[in-house]
C-alpha cells in the first residue's frame, strides 16, 4: 500500500494538470525548457528511482534459485 501511495503522489506531481491554473507557466523557463516540462520529467525520474528501489528486493522464491 505504501508503494501504491508513493506512485499516486508521483503521478499527481508528474501529470501537468495543475499548470493550466498557473499564469505564464509556459513562458517560465528552466534549463531552456518550460518549467512544467522540467517538473514533469523530474517526476518521471522519481518514478524510475522508486521502481528501481522496489526491484532491489528479491521476488518470491528467488532466494532458492541457483545462481
Amino acid at each position: 500500500m505504501k508503494n501504491l501511495f508513493i506512485y499516486l503522489v508521483l503521478l499527481v506531481i508528474s501529470v501537468p494538470w495543475y499548470w493550466m491554473f498557473i499564469p505564464d507557466a509556459s513562458s517560465t523557463m528552466i534549463l531552456g525548457v518550460p518549467s512544467w516540462v522540467v517538473v514533469s520529467v523530474t517526476g518521471s525520474a522519481c518514478v524510475s528511482v522508486h521502481t528501481a528501489l522496489i526491484l532491489r528486493r528479491p521476488w518470491p522464491g528467488e532466494e532458492g534459485e541457483a545462481r
Binding site: L11, M20, G32, P34, V41, S44, S48, T51, L55
Partner: protein, 496 residues
C-alpha cells in the same frame, strides 16, 4: 524530396551492408548453438537468457521505429506535450511489477512458451486462449506492418533512385534478412541480434543528440524561437490535453507491457534475479532515449518549420541531411545513426515475427488443426508461418505507404490493453473465471473497434481502448462475482 538524406557513398553503404551481413552470421551462430530441436529451445532459447542480453533485447524490442520516427514527428506536431512519451515508456516497467514476478514463477513451473499457455493453465478455457492469441496476432501484426513501413521510410532517402522504388526495395530486402536469420537461429538469433542492435541504438541516440546540438545549438535558442513562431508548442496541456495525457499513460503503460514478445521475454530469463535486474536498469532508459526523440522533434519544429503531416514522420532523415552537409564527421555520424534506425526497426520486427510464428504454431495449429503434430512438425510449421506472415506484411507496407506511424500505434494498444484483466487481475484474483474473461474481452474489443472505426480513436481525449477496457472489466468482474466458483478456479492465481 525534402525527406531525402544526401545519398550514402560506396564506403558508407558498405558499412551498412557489413552490419546487415553480421546479422546473418549471428543467425548462423544461433543455428549452430541450438541445444535441442524443440519449441522451447527455438522460441525461448532454452530459458537461459542472461542479464545483458535480456536487457538489450527488452530495450531493442520496446524501442522501435515508432520511438525514432513516430515520436520525433509527434513532438514536431504537438510540442513539449509529447513529453508524456517519457512517462508512458516508464509506466510500462511499472506495470511489469504487477504481474511479472508471479508470471515468471508460473512459467518456470509449467514450461510456458506463448502468452496463451499461461491463460490455458489459469483459466482452462480453450476459446479464451484461442481468442487471446488471435487478438495478440492481430495487434502485433499491425505493429509489424508499422515497422516494415518504417524500414521503407528509412531506406527511401538513401539512394538517388525513385522514392517509391527505394521504399519498395528497403521493405523487401530488410524483411528478407530478418526472416533468414530468424529461421536459422530462432530466439537466440533474435536475442543476440537485439543485443547488437540495442547497443547500436544507444550509440545512435548518443550520436543523434550530439549532432543535433552541434548543428542547431542549445535547446534554449530553439524554445526562444518557438515562443515567437509557435507558442502553442510550449504550453502545458489544457483540460482535454490532461485527459489525453492520462489516457496515454494507461494505454501505453498497460498495453506496452502486454506485447506477447515482451511476455515471452519474461519466460526466457535465466532466473528471476536476471529478470528483476534487467527491469531495474530498463526503468531508467526512457529518461535517456525517449527524451532524445523529444529534443529532436523540438529542434526540428524550431529550425525546420512548415513540414506537412507526412513529412513530420520523416523529420529525422531531414535532420540527417542537414548534418551530413556539415562535415565528413557529420556524414559518418549519420551513417551510425542510420544503422541505429535500422537496428531499432529490425529488432522490433524480428521479435514480433518470432512471437507471431510461435502463437500461430502453438496456440492455433497444434490445439485446433493437428493435435498429433510432433515438435519437428510444429517447428516446420512455425518457420513457414514466419515466411508467409512477413510476405503479407511487406505487401501491406508497400500498399499502405503514406499512413502516419502514431495512428497505427494507437489501434494496436486498443486491442492489447483488453488482455489486462486476464494477465494482471487473473494472477491476483482466484475467483476470476475464464468465461467471464472471454466475455469481457469480446465486449472490450467490440467497444474499442466500434469507436475507432466510427472515427472516435479518442473520445474526449480518452483512447477508445480505455472505454473498451472499462466495459471489459465490468463484464469480467460482475460475471465472476455472480457465477458460482468452480473447483478448478480455486488457487489458480499464484505460485503453489
Amino acid at each position: 524530396m525534402i525527406g531525402q538524406m544526401a545519398p550514402l557513398n560506396t564506403m558508407e553503404i558498405g558499412f551498412v551492408g557489413f552490419y546487415l551481413g553480421v546479422l546473418l552470421l549471428i543467425g548462423l551462430a544461433g543455428w549452430r548453438s541450438r541445444k535441442a530441436n524443440t519449441l522451447q529451445d527455438f522460441y525461448l532459447g532454452g530459458n537461459s537468457t542472461g542479464l545483458w542480453v535480456l536487457l538489450l533485447t527488452l530495450y531493442a524490442t520496446q524501442y522501435s521505429g515508432n520511438t525514432l520516427f513516430g515520436f520525433t514527428g509527434k513532438t514536431y506536431r504537438v510540442g513539449f506535450s509529447w513529453s508524456v512519451s517519457i512517462q508512458f515508456m516508464t509506466a510500462i516497467v511499472v506495470v511489469y511489477l504487477t504481474f511479472a514476478p508471479r508470471l515468471f514463477a508460473l512459467s518456470r513451473q509449467h514450461c510456458f512458451i506463448t502468452p496463451a499457455d499461461y491463460l490455458q493453465h489459469r483459466f482452462k478455457t480453450p476459446a479464451l486462449s484461442l481468442t487471446a492469441s488471435l487478438v495478440m496476432i492481430l495487434a502485433i501484426g499491425n505493429f509489424l506492418l508499422a515497422q516494415m513501413m518504417a524500414m521503407g521510410k528509412a531506406v527511401e532517402g538513401l539512394f538517388e533512385a525513385d522514392p517509391w522504388w527505394a521504399y519498395f526495395s528497403g521493405v523487401v530486402f530488410l524483411a528478407a534478412i530478418i526472416v533468414i536469420y530468424e529461421t536459422l537461429g530462432g530466439f537466440r538469433a533474435v536475442a543476440w541480434t537485439d543485443a547488437i542492435q540495442g547497443s547500436i541504438l544507444m550509440l545512435g541516440f548518443g550520436a543523434l543528440i550530439m549532432l543535433i546540438f552541434q548543428r542547431f545549438g542549445a535547446i534554449d535558442k530553439a524554445t526562444a524561437l518557438l515562443a515567437k513562431s509557435a507558442p502553442s508548442t510550449l504550453q502545458a496541456p489544457d483540460a482535454a490535453g490532461v485527459r489525453e495525457w492520462i489516457s496515454y499513460l494507461l494505454i501505453v503503460g498497460i498495453g506496452g507491457a502486454l506485447y506477447p514478445q515482451a511476455v515471452q521475454r519474461i519466460y526466457c530469463a535465466r532466473n528471476a534475479r536476471t529478470l528483476r535486474l534487467s527491469l531495474m536498469i530498463m526503468v531508467f532508459l526512457p529518461l535517456i532515449t525517449t527524451s532524445v526523440s523529444l529534443v529532436a522533434g523540438i529542434m526540428g519544429r524550431a529550425y525546420l518549420p512548415g513540414l506537412s503531416l507526412e513529412q513530420t514522420d520523416s523529420l529525422l532523415t531531414i535532420m540527417c541531411r542537414e548534418v551530413q552537409q556539415q562535415s565528413l564527421l557529420g556524414r559518418w555520424v549519420v551513417v551510425v545513426l542510420f544503422a541505429a534506425i535500422l537496428a531499432a526497426i529490425m529488432s522490433t520486427a524480428d521479435s514480433i515475427l518470432l512471437s507471431i510464428s510461435s502463437m500461430l504454431t502453438k496456440d492455433v495449429y497444434a490445439p485446433w488443426i493437428r493435435q498429433d503434430a510432433s515438435e519437428a512438425d510444429l517447428m516446420k510449421v512455425g518457420k513457414i508461418c514466419a515466411w508467409l506472415f512477413i510476405t503479407a506484411g511487406a505487401a501491406g507496407a508497400i500498399l499502405l505507404r503514406g499512413t502516419t506511424l502514431v495512428t497505427l500505434l494507437d489501434r494496436k494498444l486498443d486491442l492489447l490493453i483488453q488482455l489486462s484483466p486476464a494477465f494482471i487481475l487473473g494472477l491476483w484474483w482466484n475467483r476470476l473465471q475464464g468465461n467471464a474473461v472471454l466475455a469481457g474481452l469480446l465486449v472490450g474489443i467490440t467497444i474499442s473497434l466500434t469507436l475507432a472505426f466510427m472515427g472516435y480513436g479518442k473520445l474526449y481525449g480518452i483512447h477508445a481502448g480505455i472505454y473498451g477496457l472499462t466495459g471489459n472489466l465490468g463484464v469480467a468482474v460482475v460475471w465472476s462475482f455472480l457465477a458460482t466458483p468452480r473447483e478448478r478456479d480455486v488457487n489458480q492465481t499464484g505460485v503453489d
